[in-house]
Symmetry: C2
């Protein structure tokens, strides 16, 4: 329960770009019609130029704009805690540290990228943003960021989670966002799936297709909450802060566990540490923890695939369960994605990141243990990292090993309580 | 949006006891059978001795136990913000500062008193606590505190809000608390009201009676979330921190607006400043803001009355709408109480605290404005203070007055989103 804070002056001023440290670059995205690499300007209908520059930049440090930093300072640096009460309960010689991004204004790490994305769009005269959201954390974050930078916001919210987590809809609406359950009847791809099943549960792949279909003129652009390089870039403020905070305890992690959906949380907490590995300064294990119902990294194929179900995106070299894969219904909606960030996929493929998958029941049980000892209710997504850390700490106990474990609690679970209620009642099923 | 933090070392080490500064003491609680003042030992069936001592103490500073401080440090000091974006939108010359207790582990200021209450009970060998909760924030706080200090916890949750805010039930259950909608069929008083109406909405007065009825032997004690001196005492850490934080900006408030239910939030934010008034060091206006549907201070009578509906408590000298008053159905469940803290009542009666009442619709509108500018979704209770501050800031604009306004956001509104949804849909009614 010990808290390690940073003063306002200690907040990192730049994002960290892992592309600068990679010995060989990841395979480029391809134009599906020509199989030629995508040129940056081909992305201009979708994204503002500043974000496209970040997408392809090889600069190691990219400055955080003042206007974004001003809002970051309202909730950053987020605290780093040592889980002393959890360690004690487990009787482990391991030290468990957790960064807490649930302390952000919208309750998850997603705000870290929503703010610069909204800012750069506003800078280039854009009037509105359209996006998808899985469990809803990203939709909440973009709703706030859009309102703060005076942009309209249209959100396609995967229907399963729109119904599971209705409070998130209300939160987005408090910021005047328009929120539609996806698949919706507002797009061609949406109507196609609704025809198959009027209560289709949806998926991130479908919602991405719907949002991209809405980019009809130059005044509206598309915004993505994970997967792409610039999104992962913005999240590196998490790991940079964690590193400074651990230094205050004279610590460096032996292993980092992270939940894995699209990759932004994993990149955020681990890339600043992987920088030390890539530059041969330190060693650290990084483990991606996936739901066993959507095992992209553990069971997917490393290949070129589409980022969305309508197959409208470029082809990305990534681990994928196939663009047509509709994941089973689970609570951790942020992890229900068929693909994976190309950067993370590359690092997995090169052996820098390990992967495991866990069951929903084990994850919720880990969340309960964490809540009861640390007093913080995690999002079900974040609970995947907790499950990984607890198992590691138990292994340390068995083997008598003193390890330092780091995780990121990417969001709080206040708006996931319907799922926890079902868990407590023994009614939580994977469908 | 500017944030003012305190370092861990700057967190106050003592609670502030306003009884030490009062020129004349408030009228004592009376035994309803004899009309004689209650002797402290008569409270021993209900509370541990340490809390009874605090209830009657005249010591100005009461030390915070180490075991409590250790947990406080996980979420304290809470941030103080200047509402620069809200000020700008209002175009006011006033400065608006807000303390943010929504940053606590359970999302409200209630944890500040739940922790020492659980701690002192545990110290004296108690095994279980029973309590009431209105909107549910207090129940959440006591659930966590009871689990942290290894106590069982039984909570009577006012049925209206049990139904309105079901996520709070789930949160309490995550900490193994037993939660019953009140009136329940587990008590004599509960059954009486259920007979009148099987879906009786309940009130804090009824829930207090039910919880007290459950104190049947020495191993279980009763815990209260507001009203009593020792509860108000624990909350003074809020105002003490705010004072230190404002000093860093060279500021002192001209006026403090606070929502008012039982009095613990108002006492928490204002008593450390009223100390300066009572000791003639400074001047500050303090304004209690109530819902117009439960106008205890603005329309109640200052008299001896019972704290609960079953009339089992001592008689307290306080503003009251009558122990039989069942408030209309509103979202701000924490403010639906017929009575008022005797200490606050005394200060109102002596002219140290002003009172106003506001409508639910105006409050929710103020909450929306605050959310959209400051990015923090307040609890509907806290939004009463926001409404007061906004009206004051508009007055400052009209009159060209530069005032410094201080409020406390006593809790976040993530678990009140069903009410906000109704508000956004224009369906929110007082019934």
């Amino acid at each position: 329960m010990e808290k390690i804070s940073l003063s306002e002056k200690e907040i990192p001023t730049h994002y960290y770009n892992i592309l600068a440290d990679l010995p060989e670059p990841p395979s480029p995205p391809l134009n599906p019609e020509t199989n030629e690499p995508i040129r940056p300007e081909m992305l201009e209908p979708l994204f503002p130029k500043a974000l496209i520059e970040q997408e392809v930049s090889r600069e190691k440090r990219i400055e955080i704009p003042d206007e974004v930093m001003e809002i970051y300072k309202k909730y950053r640096a987020t605290p780093l805690y040592r889980a002393t009460r959890l360690e004690k309960l487990l009787g482990t010689p391991a030290k468990i540290y957790y960064k807490y991004e649930g302390a952000s204004l919208t309750g998850s790490h997603k705000l870290n990228t929503a703010l610069p994305q909204a800012y750069y769009n506003k800078q280039e005269g854009i009037k509105a943003l359209t996006t998808e959201t899985g469990a809803g954390q990203w939709g909440m974050a973009l709703s706030l960021a859009a309102k703060f930078f005076d942009l309209k916001c249209l959100i396609f919210y995967v229907r399963l989670h729109y119904q599971q987590k209705p409070y998130r809809v209300s939160f987005m609406r408090m910021f005047d966002a328009e929120v539609l359950p996806s698949p919706s009847n507002q797009t061609i791809i949406g109507r196609k799936f609704l025809k198959e099943d009027p209560n289709h549960p949806g998926s991130l792949g479908i919602a991405i297709s719907e949002a991209m279909e809405k980019v009809t003129d130059g005044s509206i652009k598309y915004s993505l909450g994970s997967v792409l390089n610039h999104v992962l870039l913005h999240q590196t403020i998490i790991g940079q802060e964690a590193k400074l905070q651990l230094e205050k305890d004279d610590e460096y992690p032996d292993v980092i566990y992270s939940c894995f959906g699209g990759g932004s949380n994993l990149a955020g907490i681990s890339f600043p540490f992987l920088s030390d590995v890539l530059t041969k300064k330190k060693k650290v294990r990084v483990v991606a923890v996936e739901p066993d119902t959507c095992p992209t990294l553990t069971k997917g194929e490393y290949k070129y695939d589409f980022g969305d179900t309508a197959k409208t995106t470029p082809l990305f070299k990534m681990y994928s369960l196939g663009a047509d894969f509709i994941p089973p219904k689970i609570q951790a909606g942020g992890l229900r994605y068929h693909g994976a960030a190309p950067l993370v996929s590359h690092l997995v493929n090169k052996g820098y990141i390990e992967t495991i998958s866990v069951s929903q029941t084990d994850v919720m049980e880990a969340a309960r243990l964490f809540t009861q000892t640390e007093g913080i209710l995690p999002a079900p997504e974040s609970a995947h990292a907790i499950k990984g850390a607890i198992d590691e700490a138990i292994r340390c106990k068995k083997e008598g090993v003193k390890e330092t474990i780091l995780i990121n609690i990417s969001g709080h679970g206040f708006l996931d309580l319907q799922g926890y209620e079902e868990f407590l009642d023994g009614k939580l099923a994977v469908q």
